[in-house]
């Protein structure tokens, strides 16, 4: 099994990559949501009668903020459990 060292290499790199993807995605999303929520609260304090409309817009923007982070989460978890880099080494 001279492949073992290579398999271990690929798995280690994949684990680090998954961590980076999840971590950076979480960082970006957290900052984005913080700014979004802050602006929403400011707007709500200035014009309370606009709150329902602003709330809907806030959820829409929240969905867009979430998007790339979630794509990253999906891809990272996919790599955790069905690593395509590992398949050639496993002889499939």
């Amino acid at each position: 099994m001279e492949n073992l060292a290579h398999i271990a290499d690929v798995q280690a790199m994949t684990a680090i990559a998954v961590g980076i993807i999840l971590g950076l995605g979480a960082l970006g999303t957290a900052l984005g949501f913080g700014l979004l929520g802050g602006k929403f609260l400011e707007g709500a304090a200035r014009q309370p009668e606009m709150v329902p409309m602003l709330q809907v817009r806030m959820f829409i923007v929240a969905g867009l903020l979430d998007a790339v982070a979630m794509i990253g989460v999906g891809m990272a978890l996919f790599f955790s459990f069905a690593n395509p880099f590992l398949a050639p080494l496993m002889g499939e």
Partner: protein, 257 residues
Amino acid sequence: MIVRAESPTEYILHHMTHLKVGDGFWALHLDSLFFSWLTGLTFLLLFKYVAERATSGVPGTLQNLVEMVVEFVDRQVQDSFHGRDPMIAPLALTIFCWVFLMNLMDLVPVDLLPFIATLEGIPYLRVVVSADLNGTFGLSIPVFFLIFFYAIRYKGFWGFLRDLLTHPFGPWFIPFNLLLRIVEELARPVSLALRLFGNLYAGELIFILIALLPFWGQFFLGLPWAVFHILVITLQAFIFMVLTIVYLSLASATEEH
């Protein structure tokens, strides 16, 4: 209580495997196909049933619920679609309700339906269609084609080409404009599909991980996650619908700036 003879990784992989027929590009995920049909037919038959028995007197609970959903979607379409088209609101309603029902399957306990399937001799069952790339792309690729057809219908073929080649920078930058516009147009269905997929795949995976914890984990972790997930499934269905309406509105915008 079911005593598992498999390791945690095997448990996770078992729950992440589709009921597949064929392989490679031509693989059919029978479980996704079945549950997408099931949820779609549920939506259609339920709304048809309520519509046929709709009364203008005091409505029953079911008619109330359906009216709430229809009015909600109608208001969203009025807010976001600047034009007149009879197909947008039914399309938005279908997308919202169907995606919501498909996402709702994620709240069914992780082992329940696969266990019942095992009694019938079915080895793998993944019930959340929107956690399958085929499911989400199956929704977003038709939306992509609809955007294309709406643009041609509202702007004419030459209007569409002019729009493609001369926005956002003037007619002297045609290759650059073309590249940017192609990327922008392709990014829409891809982001629609992957956003929904990422959210639901992660949600399903966390439910599976929580299922591996001892019994106390189910209440202290499973319950908050399930409650949060109720928000996520509704929000993702709403986002998909709103973005579809907005993209179609942009595609059929005929006024010049």
